[in-house]
């Protein structure tokens, strides 16, 4: 809306003002951090390009992240931002980076990790099953499952897990998590000024990424039931979901999808899961990991162990996710 160059800066200022009770915005807007450090706690830091709000800054606070580094729109933040964030929120127990699996994010975090003095580890999130792990891919993308990894790790860090425990737990949550999405419209990067891809009213992009990257294939617009069927079966297959298993189900909007439609998708998805005897133990529904104003949604399932569930249920107080306090 305002000048594309200053949009991100002004939005961060608005965010910091609106949530001044829980977050602080660093000089030069390099990162958003929790207002108060918790000594002895492992610091959790994530980050990534802007345009996915509320991810990640909206998840900074008690029981989740200690800091989030916002890049430009759809652009990984720089190593400098990550290092400064790490120095700022260090509680003396090391730093855990949570990184979505994009080559940009991976390279920047890697450079930061190499230059860092503190003890640190990285959990890579790659929950998107849209693209098979073939010789033609670097591996899968990190998408909405990132929220689940950040929530569960945040709760574990809060209860006092050490860096190594958190690294193991994070990898385990990531492995138990799978996502797949579908887009009905494209998003428009403000500075580019035109839609990232062209799509007609009666088409959809199956397996779309959260940057408006074209997906696996373009097909005719289907019903919510058939979309749910396709997305869920890909997720189910990846996780090897079996009867009597429980999942945490996140139905995530991409930014331009009304809640009415997200709940429609919730209903369709739980019916598909029920057919194979899978129960939804926890639901989360909303636009949490977005692609600007893109219309569409993704479904994410995490196989729910009792430990994952109790960490999921633990109190959290961030701008975008809050319960128990």
């Amino acid at each position: 809306m305002n000048h594309a160059d200053t949009m991100l800066a002004e939005s961060l200022d608005g965010f910091a003002a609106a949530h001044a009770d829980i977050v602080l915005l660093a000089t030069d807007r390099e990162f958003v951090r929790r207002k108060r450090n918790k000594p002895g706690k492992v610091a959790l830091i994530s980050g990534g390009g802007a345009g996915h709000e509320p991810l990640h800054a909206g998840f900074v606070g008690h029981g989740m992240l200690d800091a989030a580094c916002p890049g430009q729109i759809f652009t990984s933040p720089t190593p400098n931002q990550m290092m400064n964030a790490a120095q700022s929120v260090d509680g003396g127990a090391g730093v855990l980076f949570i990184v979505k699996n994009y080559s940009g994010d991976m390279m920047n975090f890697q450079m930061a990790a190499e230059m860092l003095d503190q003890e640190n580890a990285v959990v890579i999130v790659n929950d998107d099953v849209a693209v098979e792990d073939s010789t033609y891919t670097t591996g899968r993308r990190g998408v909405a499952g990132t929220l689940i990894v950040e929530k569960i790790l945040g709760a574990a860090a809060e209860r006092g897990d050490n860096l190594q425990q958190l690294k193991i737990l994070g990898d385990a949550v990531n492995k138990a998590t799978a996502s797949m999405g579908v887009a009905l419209t494209s998003c428009t990067v403000p500075a580019a000024g035109k839609p990232t891809f062209q799509i007609s009213m009666n088409e959809m992009e199956v397996g779309v990424g959260i940057h408006g990257e074209p997906g696996r294939r373009r097909v005719a617009l289907g019903s919510a039931d058939s979309i749910a069927e396709e997305l869920t079966s890909a997720v189910k297959k990846d996780l090897g979901l079996k009867a009597d298993q429980e999942v945490i189900l996140l139905v995530n909007g991409f930014g331009g999808t009304p809640m009415l439609e997200l709940y429609l998708m919730v209903n369709a998805t739980r019916k598909v899961l029920a057919k194979s005897g899978v129960t939804v133990a926890r639901y989360l529904t909303g636009s949490y990991v977005t692609s600007l104003e893109m219309a569409g949604c993704s479904i994410t399932a995490t196989v729910a162990s009792p430990e994952f569930l109790s960490l999921w249920d633990a109190p959290v107080h961030t701008a975008a996710l809050r319960w128990g306090m």
Binding site: G49, F74, Y136, T196, P214
Partner: protein, 198 residues
């Protein structure tokens, strides 16, 4: 021929090609490559006065650090590592063979950083053939480097992507030039032009 002019022209080319680079990245990526290169280019231009009088190596290192600190995305670490490695490897008053050696070291650093190999539709597919041309003693070297950069960039259209965001596309990336390769070709050809005109 001043180093300053080479840098000024090469960075300006990127700024001038904002829309083309954006369009290429929209086709097979996330659409930010044009802006990323523009941001890096302008950050380097802002340092031109500071770099005045420093050696080629120092200038390259400064430019590399500026890319890392200011760009983000894939381009930040990639162009940053490329420039910083060149700055570290080049001797004083380098010959074209020295450039070839330093470029080889840079490609290795890039592969270490981002795991990309030749043929995976990244700017390495411009750097590698250009490095090979530079390593030869041939007439019209500048013109041949220039031509090679362009041709190699175009050739990425026929490759499947294996690294970076476009790798998620599988076959659908075919037919589109890799945006980073195009930036690399623009930089190299601008340098060649400035050197030729000097």
């Amino acid at each position: 021929m001043s180093l300053r002019l080479v840098i000024q022209n090469a960075t300006q080319t990127l700024v001038d090609h904002l829309e083309e680079l954006t369009a290429l990245d929209q086709a097979i990526g996330d659409g930010d490559h044009g802006l990323n290169m523009k941001r890096g280019a302008q950050a380097i231009q802002a340092k031109l006065a500071d770099m005045e009088g420093t050696s080629l190596n120092e200038s390259l290192k400064t430019m590399g650090k500026t890319c890392v600190a200011m760009i983000g995305g894939s381009s930040g670490p990639v162009f940053g590592t490329l420039l910083m490695t060149l700055g570290k490897e080049l001797p004083e008053n380098p010959t074209h063979q020295d450039f070839a050696l330093a470029l080889r070291a840079s490609i290795e650093a890039l592969t270490k950083l981002g795991k990309a190999e030749v043929g995976q539709k990244t700017l390495i597919d411009v750097l590698d053939p250009v490095q090979k041309v530079l390593a030869q003693d041939s007439p019209n070297l500048i013109a041949r480097v220039r031509q090679c950069a362009f041709d190699s960039s175009l050739a990425t259209a026929n490759m499947d992507a294996a690294r970076g965001r476009s790798s998620f596309l599988g076959d659908r990336a075919k037919g589109h030039v890799d945006p980073g390769s195009r930036s690399m070709a623009l930089i190299i050809s601008s340098i060649c032009d400035t050197l030729t005109k000097a």
